[in-house]
Symmetry: none
Subunit: 224 residues, 2 copies
DNA sequence: TCACAAGCTAAAGAAATGCTAAACTTTACT
DNA sequence: AGTAAAGTTTAGCATTTCTTTAGCTTGTGA
């Protein structure tokens, strides 16, 4: 369950948003002023902050800066129509997105999702259309999920950790097995072959390349 | 100093990014359209490209594909919130990462670092337009990749390690074979010839020179 | 200008390297 | 214990790369 901190002085808007967000499955925490918002933030760090600019006690930019100084949490700013030209300074104050009032709740919802997705994606790397989510242990190609065995996933993770670099069989062995294998073992080759065939099956051919005499690398696609 | 090519039609965003990136120590080159971006790229290949999707003249995916067709440079795409579903096709067009607008500059900065780290093999040497990446076992000439055999790559690596120095056949043998070969073997000559022909094929003639009676050296280009 | 050494080239056989399929072993789960 | 999935080994095959050979070209000094 995602927690959202709403800093908004107008009770009417606050109430409306609380309803909308609650229905969408978010837990909403409401603060009516800049100071109380900052206090609330310290008590329980939310997953996202919605900040109204027109606060009575503190300037919105100031609040954004203070939040940003101590927390990584994404901030969406609500601003009146006449303050549009402030958007640039706002963004550099630490806001991640802004919405001009009045706005449609659905749009706010969409932007919230975008921001949350941004943060979650932390451990994601991609090469070409290949996305590797380390935390989720998931690999996507063209939005489609690939079913990889543990060894295959580790192998791909290693290669994607330094795109372009050629990993020798020895390096791969050290990373996946923690030691060197027998001199004449070709386990690595076999796992490479299996991984490659699953990649190809999904249409992701040409990324996993053999560098003869040295090892393997993940590179930008090459004609097959 | 890393060079970033920014392809962005909105002058306001371009200016903001130019400031931010400049402060972070990058050299920023700004192109306001897809065509001019491609031209700029050809003039001086940057270390990274930031590409806005909403260009007036060319489709963003098209630009990405054209860049990718000729260069290995990493591409980060900026896309409007309503085009999120295009990310998949974008990634397979050759983009390495994408960011949904608006975004926090710090996040862009982080992603730039990720991309540059991925690409850097650490050790890289270059003479003229010839770049040799040891970790990637890759040789680029004018952004274009050369396919070299192991011996050819080692040979070029050796020569490029002390640009200008003349290496005797004996020295070359010691480095590539770990010993001296028979007196009347001309393996070195043959590998030199093969390397030279691959270089020439890519347009990189005039670098690999013969010093009669002594050996071979890699020097600044000379008329052919 | 000629002769000879040094270097270049092309081609063929030898060697090394990687790929694949299939059998076998281990592991995790029922 | 039985099954299914994953991991490993083996061995033969295909391909690339390396080396050698032999004849050709080029540069240099008499």
């Amino acid at each position: 369950m995602k927690r959202i901190l709403l800093i908004e002085d107008d009770p009417e808007i606050a109430h409306l948003l609380q309803l909308e967000l609650g229905e969408a499955g978010y837990t909403v925490d409401w603060a009516s002023g800049g100071m109380s918002g900052l206090v609330r933030l310290r008590e329980a760090v939310p997953d996202l902050v919605i900040l109204d600019l027109g606060l009575p006690d503190l300037d919105g930019g100031e609040v954004a800066r203070r939040i940003r100084a101590g927390y990584e949490v994404p901030i969406i700013v609500l601003t009146a129509a006449d303050a549009v030209e402030r958007k640039v300074s706002l963004l550099s104050d630490g806001a991640d997105d802004y919405m001009v009032k009045p706005f449609h709740p659905a749009e706010l919802m969409a932007r919230i999702q975008v921001q949350l997705r941004h943060r979650e994606g932390g451990e994601q790397v991609s090469v070409g259309g290949l996305e590797v989510h380390l935390a989720k242990r998931q690999v996507l190609y063209g939005g489609q999920e690939l079913r990889l065995s543990p060894k295959e996933f580790e192998l791909l993770s290693l290669l994607v950790s330094r795109t372009g670099k050629v990993f020798s069989r020895q390096e791969i062995e050290e990373h996946l097995w923690g030691r060197q294998l027998e001199r004449d073992s070709n386990v690595v080759d076999v796992h490479i072959a299996n991984l490659r065939s699953k990649l190809r099956e999904a249409g992701a051919y040409g990324y996993l390349r053999t560098v003869r005499g040295v090892g393997y690398a993940l590179r930008q696609r090459e004609a097959e």
